[in-house]
Amino acid sequence: MSLSDKDKATVRAIWGKISPKADEIGAEALGRMLTVYPQTKTYFSHWADLSPGSAPVKKHGKTIMTAVGEAVSKIDDLVGGLAALSELHAFKLRVDPANFKILSHNVIVVIGMLFPADFTPDVHVSVDKFFQCLALALAEKYR
């Protein structure tokens, strides 16, 4: 399920609309993931506070969305563009790739919440595909 030119254009356009709130989206999505899917908390035992809106959650949400923004700019070559991040996740963080889908779902829920009019079904499908391709690129170096 690779990204068509239309998907890429759609993703770039919606990113333009939502990027001013990227930090908020990231923090909100991460907080929801930790609450709704408690098994994901196992990766953050080094944080003092895992509740939505806490300082480490906000900071990490921002980190994640900055990387998503980078991925949007490298949408024509996600595997190449995200090689370093893939190595980080594969060798250092060792996050089970199944969790990428979980985080994507929560980001989509939050985008829908904050931008209900802009997140039409056509935009939704392109963004869902983009996150799937991003997850695949992130999992590239795993094995």
Binding site: T35, V36, P52, H105, M113, P116, H124, V125, D128
Partner: protein, 189 residues
């Protein structure tokens, strides 16, 4: 330690339901290693907050509007799900799907089905026996699709409720949906 875990896991999964509970009751010390079966897990436990959250979400739902949008999104975002709706006519693009009256009607049916689960929250499993048989034997729906529709429904609710759909409410709501999905999967053989 590993061999004990593997053998207890194999042992417990090979027994029938009542035998597993008896086994678990007499082998409490193994349960930390193999927590697959605990006697108290015979039914879903809902906290008062969870019940309130789920009922609260339902109170906001316009079945026709939310049903239509959720099903339509599912058909657009996961187009392979269209395989189950061959008789629905025009599903050629997002606009057509959103405007399709059969999609709208069926979206309402889905939400009405969920209402049955809401009204029988302590026994969703048995409430859904007929529905599960319908989906598995007559409609032949791949159960993986239930999660796709559930995710679309959650997203549409988030869109409508905005920040009122707090993380805790989302957690309760998704727990409700996963119990529903599990009940729908039960009659697949």
């Amino acid at each position: 330690m590993n061999s004990v875990y593997r053998s207890t896991a194999a042992f417990s999964s090979g027994l029938n339901r009542s035998a597993r509970y008896t086994w678990a009751a007499t082998n409490q010390s193994y349960l930390n290693i193999c927590p697959a079966v605990k006697p108290q897990d015979t039914m879903v436990q809902w906290t008062a907050d969870e019940r309130a959250a789920i009922q609260g979400v339902f109170a906001t739902l316009d079945y026709e509007s939310v049903g239509r949008e959720s099903l339509a999104r599912c058909l657009v975002v996961y187009p392979w799900t269209q395989r189950y709706f061959g008789g629905f006519g025009n599903l050629y693009n997002a606009e057509a799907i959103m405007a399709n009256p059969k999609v709208a009607a069926h979206g309402t049916v889905v939400l009405q089905g969920l209402e049955k689960a809401l009204k029988n929250m302590d026994d969703i499993k048995n409430t859904y026996t007929t529905l599960s048989e319908l989906h598995s034997e007559k409609l032949l729906v791949d159960p993986g699709n239930f999660q796709l529709l559930a995710d679309c429904l959650t997203m549409v609710i988030a869109k409508r409720m905005r920040t009122e759909f707090t993380p805790d409410i989302q957690a309760a709501w998704q727990k409700f949906l996963s119990v529903v999905i599990s009940a729908l999967r039960r009659q697949y053989h």
